[in-house]
């Protein structure tokens, strides 16, 4: 076994990486908070100065904005005048780069019943904007602009640099404490670990970040306890034994952590918040409550979760049944040896799989749309009347299912063909000799051989169909009235088409995740136990 100080420093390094991560996150949060407060205060002071008719602060761009009035040249445009510096001019796209900010802020101020506000501008520049009611402008200005609005925009803020020296200092101090503990040995080693890691909480305390400091102290305690039960030693032994595998895995593991696990965790957390005009408010389980209770809507309302779930289940079952039936039937026919051109037929039948599915969806949309759509032309030709495909639920849903069946059956066909190839011919010959009918041969030879391949394919296909976005989004687009939306499409609409209800969308995504999880764990097991029998 290696020297105790080396082992101690190894444990310290492990803990300190996590601790520094926590401290860095705390620093970024605190730094931004302080910066935002400073910028907002600056903007507010400048806007108040303007409102009182005093000159603005240096570096802050502030002005007195007038009421909107129809533009003399283009009466449908509503122009605002601004007292920028000491002269009046119209706010225009060709004016100062801040003109749009001023105009929008003034409109928002009036829309919200002249409620004053001050906030960071949401473009990541770190600028703040403040709007104050300027009720008593000078007489000359009042004539010019009516009741005035004082608006101030601060220059961009440059956040404080990362305190490298402080971090290196406490890291050195912590390492020294830990090493000292190890030299004394016994319980002092654990005390040293605790003190060493806890030292890293010092900067967090200085930045007054209570959550960060607590987290680091807890981490220190956990590490000391882990040392006590020799957990770190065992972990180190495991790592060194499998270091080859770990090294090879590291790039993909880190990428997945950053690209999947972190967004996923953030998504889970977002479900507990409500998002309104850029403001996040913690609402606990409200989103989930609203979704699962149907939001007080009747069960046949297209926004009711249970209605959408029903549509989604129906959608999945209808498609999978059609895919499997058509796919298996075609595979059975194409596996007949007397059939000429089997290869050519196979190539033709997988064509829908090769076409990108957004293009398939758009083509079918075109074919279903309007009286000039190809489908209605055909119906006309056959003497049947036009169908307004997206006018009723049943026809719109059928349009989606037809499209998805067209693009989905080739997969099942190819899987079934592959499975049929593996059936030994002797089985059929023996069965024929024994006088088995065609149905009996299918039932007792073909079907049992198809199952092991089709089971996983059905599991995969059901998940793909459940998740299918493009077809529903592009073909029926949820028409009529959102009633053909499935869960994934509805979650998307909450986020991007219904006033940025991000919290609702995230809660939806969480629920969808658990439905899929249940299905992959239990549903696929049902399919698979069938195989084994």
């Amino acid at each position: 076994m290696s020297h105790p100080v080396v082992r101690q420093l190894r444990d310290f390094a492990l803990g300190s990486i996590v601790a520094i991560l926590i401290a860095t996150v705390a620093f970024v949060a605190v730094r931004n908070r302080e910066l935002a407060a400073k910028q907002i205060e600056l903007a507010t002071r400048a806007a108040e100065a303007i409102a009182l008719g005093r000159p603005t602060l240096p570096a802050v761009h502030a002005g007195l904005v007038g009421e909107a009035a129809p533009s003399p040249k283009h009466p449908y445009l509503r122009q605002r005048q601004v007292l920028d510096g000491d002269r009046w001019r119209p706010l225009a796209a060709s004016g100062s780069p801040d003109d749009k900010l001023f105009y929008d802020a003034a409109s928002r101020f009036e829309r919200q019943g002249r409620a004053e506000f001050a906030e960071l501008i949401k473009d990541g520049s770190g600028r703040a904007i403040a709007v104050r009611d300027a009720q008593n402008p000078r007489a000359t200005d009042r004539q010019r602009a009516g009741s005035g609005i004082a608006i101030a925009v601060t220059p961009p803020a440059h956040p404080a640099p990362y305190p490298w020296l402080v971090m290196i200092g406490v890291l050195g101090l912590g390492a020294a404490l830990a090493a000292a503990g190890a030299l004394v040995g016994g319980r002092a080693a654990r005390a040293g670990t605790f003190a060493g890691i806890a030292a890293l909480a010092i900067p967090c305390v200085l930045w007054s970040a209570p959550i960060g400091s607590t987290a680091i102290v807890l981490l220190a305690a956990a590490l000391a306890l882990a040392q006590g039960v020799r957990l770190t030693d065992r972990l180190a032994r495991g790592v060194s034994r499998h270091r080859g595998a770990l090294g090879f895995l590291a790039p993909a593991a880190v990428s997945m952590l950053v690209l999947v696990l972190v967004p996923f965790a953030i998504g889970l957390v977002l479900g507990f918040y409500d998002h309104h005009q850029g403001q996040w408010t913690f609402v606990g389980l409200d989103n989930f409550g609203e979704i699962l209770s149907g939001g007080g809507r009747p069960l046949d309302d297209p926004l009711n979760f249970w209605f959408i779930l029903g549509v989604t289940v129906l959608w999945t079952i209808a498609n999978v049944v059609l895919h499997v039936t058509i796919g298996v039937a075609l595979a059975l026919v194409l596996s007949r040896t007397w059939l000429r051109g089997r290869g050519a037929f196979r190539m033709l039948f997988i064509l829908p799989w090769a076409v990108p599915n957004y293009i398939t969806a758009l083509i079918w949309k075109g074919m279903f749309t309007g009286e000039y759509g190809a489908i209605n032309s055909m119906l006309d030709y056959a003497g049947l009347g036009d169908v307004s495909w997206f006018g009723s639920w049943a026809t719109a849903f059928s349009a989606n299912v037809i499209t998805n069946t067209w693009l989905g059956f080739p997969f099942m066909m190819v899987v079934a063909l592959g499975a049929l190839e593996t059936i030994p011919k002797e089985l059929y010959e023996a069965a024929s000799v024994d006088g088995a009918s065609a149905w009996q041969r299918f039932r007792h030879i073909t079907l049992p051989h198809l199952r092991p391949a089709l089971g996983p394919a059905v599991a995969l296909g059901s998940i793909w169909t459940f998740n299918m976005f493009n077809v529903i989004y592009l073909v029926s687009a949820g028409q009529p009235g959102g009633s053909t939306n499935t869960l994934v499409v509805d979650a998307y609409r909450w986020a991007f088409e219904r006033g940025e209800r991000y919290g609702m969308a995230a809660a939806y995504a969480t629920i969808i995740f658990f439905i899929l999880l249940l299905w992959t764990v239990f549903g696929t097991r049902i399919i698979r136990t069938k195989d084994d029998s």
């Binding site: 990541g124 080859g244 595998a245 090879f248 895995l249 590291a250 790039p251 993909a252 997945m256 999947v260 967004p263 996923f264 998504g267 977002l270 075609l330 026919v333 596996s335 007949r336 007397w338 059939l339 037929f345 039948f349 997988i350 064509l351 090769a354 076409v355 990108p356 957004y358 293009i359 758009l362 083509i363 949309k365 075109g366 074919m367 749309t369 309007g370 000039y372 190809a374 032309s377 067209w406 899987v415 592959g418 059936i423 059929y428 391949a453 996983p456 599991a459 995969l460 998740n467 976005f469 493009n470 994934v488 979650a491 998307y492 986020a495 969308a505 995230a506 995504a509 899929l516 992959t520």
Partner: protein
């Protein structure tokens, strides 16, 4: 299966049914090809898949259509699509090769969990991560950026690449490695000098598939690329047939030009795809 030839009526019926189905499969595709060469913006005036008049006007329009700054829209979208798909493929294959090798050849605790994780991520729709990724990219100022889209596509590309490459590594014989190990080669040497060259065909197929997936992706590109300068081909093509203005001729021309290369690639690779997909599902 059986050599015995069935009744003639049955044979004729089978061929008839097959030809009918082939017609149903070909019809939408033919309709688009027809529209691409037929003048007019409307989708179809007749159900016939043969154009009454032939013109290349839609293709000319497609290649010369200009955006708000006078740039060629189709060319720019094509460049965006190629860059995004290439970068996604490179990231996916590069990162996945080593992981797939480790999962195929090493035995270590957590291996099964890791494999299941990759499988689960592959099965769960990227639309679930759409919102958090949107919020993160928005915060980082990466909306409308190629880099942002590449990061998002990699979330689906990496698990897919890991699974298919692992399947390929599994199929390679172990004898060569063992011989090399006896000769004193390090783990990394074996991977670099023996496994990677042997796996070249598998890597090529995986790369092409992940390129095709990125090339065909629509909803994330249309959510993250709101500015015309960031449009990829699927977004551009969809934008030709919106509720507000629909030019089906332009759409058809774009659809033909965009899908033809991937359809050819699909036909070349289709045998490998089925193996990869079902292998993953069976073993998971």
């Amino acid at each position: 299966m059986r050599a015995r030839r069935p009744h003639l009526a049955w044979v004729i019926l089978t061929y008839l049914a097959l030809i009918l189905l082939v017609a149903a499969v070909l019809y939408p595709v033919l309709l688009v090809c027809k529209k691409a060469f037929e003048p007019g913006r409307q989708f179809a005036l007749s159900a016939s898949p043969i154009p009454s008049e032939v013109t290349t006007q839609h293709f000319q329009d497609l290649f010369t259509e200009q955006g708000s700054n006078g740039e060629l829209m189709f060319l720019r979208a094509a460049v965006n699509s190629i860059v995004v798909a290439l970068l996604t493929t490179v990231v996916g294959v590069f990162v996945s090769c080593t992981a797939a090798y480790a999962l195929s050849r090493f035995r270590f605790p957590g291996r099964k969990t890791g494999l299941t994780m990759f499988l689960v991520v592959q099965m769960f729709p990227a639309t679930l991560l759409l919102l958090p990724l949107y919020v993160i990219l928005n915060k980082l100022g990466l909306l409308n950026s190629i880099l942002g889209l590449v990061l998002v596509y990699s979330t689906t590309s990496i698990p897919f690449c890991v699974w298919t490459l692992k399947g390929y590594f599994d199929s390679l014989p172990r004898e060569l490695e063992e011989a090399a190990r006896i000769d004193g080669a390090s783990q990394w040497m074996i991977f670099r000098k023996i496994m990677l060259p042997l796996a070249r065909p598998g890597i090529a197929v995986t790369a092409l598939f992940s390129f095709m997936t990125a090339w065909n992706e629509f909803i994330m590109a249309s959510t993250f690329m709101t500015d015309q300068s960031g449009y990829t081909l699927p977004v551009l093509i969809q934008s030709t047939v919106t509720e507000f203005s629909a030019d089906w001729g332009l759409f058809a021309a774009g659809a033909v030009v965009t899908s033809l290369p991937v359809m050819i690639a699909f036909y070349v690779l289709q045998r490998y795809l089925v193996g990869g997909l079902t292998a993953g599902a069976v073993k998971g």
